[in-house]
């Protein structure tokens, strides 16, 4: 038992002799929770996850004996937790509309019974290793929850409960560990959030994460198990893009971490997710989704913890052999929380007030993404997508620049595009993906062998048009040759007919890889046909007046992903549209 010596914002100095770094503490009459971040003799410095107003020196403080940990087991899916895994729905029921301090509600429901089916391989007397599957619980209709042996427990399985309904606290089995102590098994276990969960080995990421967003999948793909960042100024569309990914991507589990952002955005997710269907399984999206929320008005220390809570939950599902996507909105707020605590600790700021370890913390965090072979020999992945909110939209600031070094896929959002309401405002020149090779293989095998070539052609067209646009801005469009004018026009067609994609248009919101490829190749076909004509001497002016150009710009919102046949039929007619002009100019040529 210890006591409070001093309160300074979210930091409290405690007299607490036998604590260790990272230990959870409960402090004061209100029972506020925090963690030890510094020690000096008999005193310890703790950061609290809740507002410290009203705490007094002299009030008691106790060490809880464990680091910040999360509960992992059935009951996670569909829930919304705060930054230290308190279940917000249950907290709301218990303490009302406002976040009361010191509430202690267990993360997972204690009274709910789950139907457990033991794994037939697990028999009393056989060896059991950390990460082994004990059995399964059908948690939602689409998700079979594999009940895992806690990672560090190895030994002999003494007994395992038969098929039946259990609460998470009932004893499910017993293990005799190698040191001869007996460990009880439950439907859930705890894991410290700042320690990555172990796995057998890293695997190569191979399959693209399909998000249904054309500029992402077709131009700057991300792989399952990859790391991506979405930097952009305020209002550029980071949250919308992450929500789109959470909605449509072909992962099995989505962890949505709202870190220091708006309360209404989480409400939005909570309201639309149950109503939308997973395009890949047809089940309500909420069944595969889990939210972690520390909104901008909630205490800043819990904000720092929230991304670790999120990534640990992600790793837990990965360890069940699932493909998990975690979106974090916004990693900048997490970095700012780090900065704030560092400032109070008097640590030396290096750039814009950030401590020197900003880069290494970011790297260690993103390192927890990846595709792995789990302890039980399954393949699972964590794909990590972080939004970055650079002050003033300046990408040279510390968080953006460090992040850029770490990630493989960079979806840079542009203010100019967003201002003209060209969404998603992903800048096609600034963005990059280090996964083109692997993605190309997948597209070639699953969609079309020409994907890589077509993609490159479209990108060339876009960068050529950028050059031309510069000329136009100086001297006007009349200075361009017909070929150049047509190039400019075709680039406009790609931008409006392919890159631009409305999240709020029912049909356009999601595009399957087949639809993406059909549009890409269709629009390029128009470009090529037109170019042929221009080379025969047709003036670009005549081509630009073709009704086909404005029609093709509407294709994306006229054909759903199920209705590609009609789209393909239109594309097949493209040469026909040019035929009359073609005949005319072939004759004169």
């Amino acid at each position: 038992m210890g006591k409070i010596l001093e309160i300074n914002g979210p930091l409290v100095k405690l007299e607490l002799p036998e604590t260790v770094l990272g230990e959870q503490v409960r402090v004061g009459r209100l029972g506020l929770v925090g963690e030890v971040i510094g020690r000096d003799g008999n005193t310890a410095l703790a950061q609290l996850y809740e507002d410290t107003a009203g705490l007094r020196p002299g009030e008691e403080a106790t060490g809880l004996g464990w680091p910040l940990s999360v509960e992992l087991g059935p009951g996670l899916l569909g829930a919304i937790f705060d930054g230290v895994q308190r279940p917000l729905e249950a907290v709301w029921q218990q303490s009302g509309d406002r976040m009361a301090r010191g509430v202690a509600v267990p993360s997972l429901p204690r009274d709910k019974r789950w139907h457990f089916v033991p794994d037939p391989h697990r028999r009393a007397g056989t060896a059991l290793a950390g990460g082994d599957v004990l059995g399964t619980v059908q948690e939602t209709e689409s998700i079979l929850h594999r009940i895992l042996t806690p990672p560090l427990i190895h030994g002999e399985l003494l007994e395992l409960a038969p098929e039946g309904d259990y609460t998470i606290e009932e004893i499910l089995g017993r293990v005799r560990k190698f040191d001869d102590t007996i460990e009880k098994l439950h439907l859930f276990h705890r894991w410290p959030v700042r320690t990555p969960r172990p796995f057998r080995k890293r695997d190569h990421a191979i399959a693209p994460l399909i998000t249904g967003q054309r500029i992402l999948d077709t131009f700057y793909p991300l792989l399952k198990g990859g790391k991506a960042a979405i930097p952009g100024p305020f209002g550029a569309g980071k949250t919308m893009l992450q929500q789109q990914i959470a909605r449509w991507c072909n992962a099995e589990i989505v962890i949505y971490v709202g870190c220091g952002e708006r309360g209404n955005e989480l409400t939005d997710v909570l309201e639309f997710m149950p109503e939308l269907k997973d395009p890949h399984t047809g089940r309500p999206l909420m069944e595969r989704t889990l939210l972690v929320a520390n909104t901008s008005n909630m205490p800043v220390v819990a904000r720092e913890a929230s991304v670790y809570v999120g990534i640990t939950l992600a790793e837990y599902f990965r360890d069940q052999g699932l493909d998990v996507v975690m979106v974090a909105d916004s990693t900048s707020r997490w970095a700012e929380a780090l900065r704030e605590v560092a400032g109070r600790l008097g640590q030396m700021p290096v750039e814009e007030g950030y401590p020197a370890y900003l880069g290494s913390r970011l790297a260690a965090f993103y390192e927890r993404a990846g595709r792995v072979e789990t302890m039980a020999g399954h393949h699972g992945s964590v794909t990590l997508i972080g939004a970055v909110s650079p002050p003033g939209g300046d990408f040279s600031e510390p968080v953006t620049s460090h992040t850029k070094e770490i990630i493989q896929t960079f979806w840079a959002l542009s203010k100019e595009l967003a201002d003209a309401r060209h969404y998603p405002s992903v800048d096609w020149l600034e963005s990059f993906s280090g996964y083109i090779g692997s993605a190309a293989k997948w597209w070639a095998e699953n969609v079309d062998p020409n994907w890589e070539r077509e993609r490159a052609e479209a990108l060339d067209l876009l960068s050529a048009s950028e050059e031309l646009q510069r000329i136009v801005n100086l001297v006007g469009v009349e200075a361009l040759s017909s070929e150049q004018r047509w190039t400019l026009e075709a680039a406009g067609l790609i931008k409006e007919g392919l890159l631009q994609q409305s999240a709020i248009d029912e049909i356009d919101s999601f595009a399957s890889p087949e639809k993406q490829y059909a549009l890409l190749s269709g629009l390029l076909e128009i470009f090529r046909q037109g170019m042929k004509l221009v080379k025969l001497g047709a003036p670009a002016r005549r081509l630009i007046q073709m009704p086909l150009l404005s029609q093709a710009r509407r294709w994306k919102s006229q054909h759903t992903s199920e209705d590609i046949a009609a789209l393909k039929a239109k594309i097949a007619q493209i040469p026909g549209e040019f035929e009359k002009l073609m005949l005319e100019y072939e004759q004169t040529a």
């Binding site: 907290v91 003033g392 006007g476």
Partner: protein
């Protein structure tokens, strides 16, 4: 402890005093100081240990004689007494009357810091508010429960725009406004405060307004309390008394500057332009108090006014605000100089809640597409205007010349309107179609073909002209 006066100050500097030998003082508690002349000052405990308590003094520590300074720890945070009687009243930044009438007496006294809403308790705002201003209703609409700031600059008519919104705001189909208004001014001039008072008086809503004023020549630290006191009143009106509350706050820049001043005194590590790293969280504590709550009838809609230092939208104050609020209405000098009122620069303006509050079941089915089309066409028109400035308008193609005409008409007829002109959203949409009809139909990709057939009155293609 409340009733004991301590005379144990050991040092004072730059607005902070250190008190020795006062054990067990609660963090964040309010403090009352009595100086040698018997004058009262107030403060806040910002750091507490048994041997030293650090107190921030709102009125500053100038002329404090430590030997003759008596300090009482009030053992509670700043609180605002609330009751129905606050309507029609004027308070200072700390919630004391400044209208010469008696103070509010109520057993219900609330911590002005509020408590964060549980995200699970929020209800998503969806109800369209008609402000009667086309640039807002048509393209950046306001929703009940939204926080939508006005980004402005010195000399621009942000006060008039805010007052016009307050006068005209109502739900679709409502005859008159249902809103009560909480108005907070901090660091504002007497003239600004006067302007709003008169405007409320003229529209006869004074008895539905609560005002919190901390003017430019009043204590800076009290400025940090003003928005909090105002929002405490707003929360009470909205979530206890079921009112729909419109909160107008001006000027957030003065607030942030006050925060910086205090942060410097405390020795906090600066992040950008001397503003403390926690400016974001601090502003969020204020802005996030807007919203709706499940199972509650009332709502808080927030319109903070903010002047951008040197008209720079990337300055930390507008920047961090934009990162927290649900969009922004940006006023521009160029339009204003051309005599356009309200001078709303639409491209950098945004309403994030518009996508969920307009269209088929809310306003009219073509609304979202029309808005998107106006943005796209106007963005294109501005490009053309830039080009015309270089090569001359005569050199423009036919198609481009139409864009030029469109831009002018859009700015003067659509954005520009009278200060008393209250356009219905349908008038706004019809006006939008009049303008879009200046452009050929095949250039309007963001509206559907059906909508074109129904509303577009111009030619199909440029060639048809």
């Amino acid at each position: 402890m409340k009733n004991i006066e301590f005379r144990t100050a050991t040092s004072a500097q730059g607005g902070l005093i250190v008190m020795g030998g006062v054990p067990g003082v609660a963090a964040g508690s309010r403090v009352q100081l009595r100086d040698h002349a018997g004058r009262l000052r107030s403060g806040l405990v910002i750091r507490s240990a048994d041997d030293a308590v650090l107190v921030e003094v709102f009125e500053g520590t100038d002329e404090l004689d430590l030997e003759r300074t008596w300090v009482r720890f009030l053992d509670e945070p700043f609180k605002l007494p609330v009751s129905r009687d606050i309507l029609g009243r004027i308070f200072n930044g700390a919630g004391l009357p400044r209208d010469g009438r008696p103070p509010i007496i109520s057993a219900d006294r609330r911590d002005v810091n509020g408590e964060p809403l549980n995200p699970a308790a929020r209800a998503y705002p969806r109800e369209f508010i008609q402000t009667g201003i086309s640039a807002i209703d048509g393209m950046n609409s306001l929703t009940r429960g939204q926080k939508l700031p006005i980004f402005s600059g010195g000399g621009l008519p942000h006060n008039r725009v805010a007052a016009q919104i307050v006068r005209q705001a109502k739900l679709l189909g409502e005859a008159a406004s249902e809103f009560v208004v909480v108005f907070a001014a901090f660091g504002a001039s007497h003239a600004d405060a006067r302007f709003f008072e008169e405007s409320f008086e003229e529209s006869g809503v004074l008895n539905k307004v609560v005002m919190f004023l901390n003017l430019a020549d009043e204590p800076v630290i009290e400025r940090l309390l003003t928005p909090r006191a105002a929002l405490t009143a707003a929360e009470y009106l909205a979530f206890d008394l079921d009112y729909h509350v419109l909160v107008v706050m001006t000027d957030m820049t003065a607030y942030a500057e006050a925060l910086r001043e205090v942060a410097v005194l405390r020795g906090d590590v600066p992040a950008r332009k001397g503003y403390p790293g926690y400016l974001y969280s601090d502003l969020a504590e204020i802005y996030e108090r807007a919203g709706r709550i499940k199972n509650r009838r009332g709502s808080i809609t927030m319109i903070p006014v903010l002047s951008m230092p040197s008209d720079d939208i990337t300055h930390p104050i507008p920047d961090l605000t934009g990162y927290i609020t649900e969009g922004q209405i940006v006023l521009g000098r160029e339009l204003s100089n051309q005599g356009v009122y309200p001078p709303v620069t639409v491209l950098p303006s945004l309403s994030r809640l518009m996508k969920d509050g307009v269209g088929k079941n809310f306003t009219r089915e073509d609304h979202p597409h029309v808005a998107s089309q106006l943005f796209a066409s106007y963005a294109k028109a501005l490009e053309v205007r830039g080009l015309a400035a270089i090569i001359g308008a005569e050199e423009l193609s036919d198609a481009d010349r139409r864009y030029l005409e469109f831009a002018n008409a859009f700015e003067h007829k659509f954005i520009g309107q009278g200060e008393d002109e209250d356009r219905s959203v349908f008038e706004t949409l019809n006006l939008a179609w009049d303008l879009l009809s200046m452009l050929p139909a095949d250039a309007l990709i963001r509206v559907s073909e059906e909508e074109l057939a129904k509303y577009h009155k111009g030619q199909a293609t440029v060639a048809a002209a």
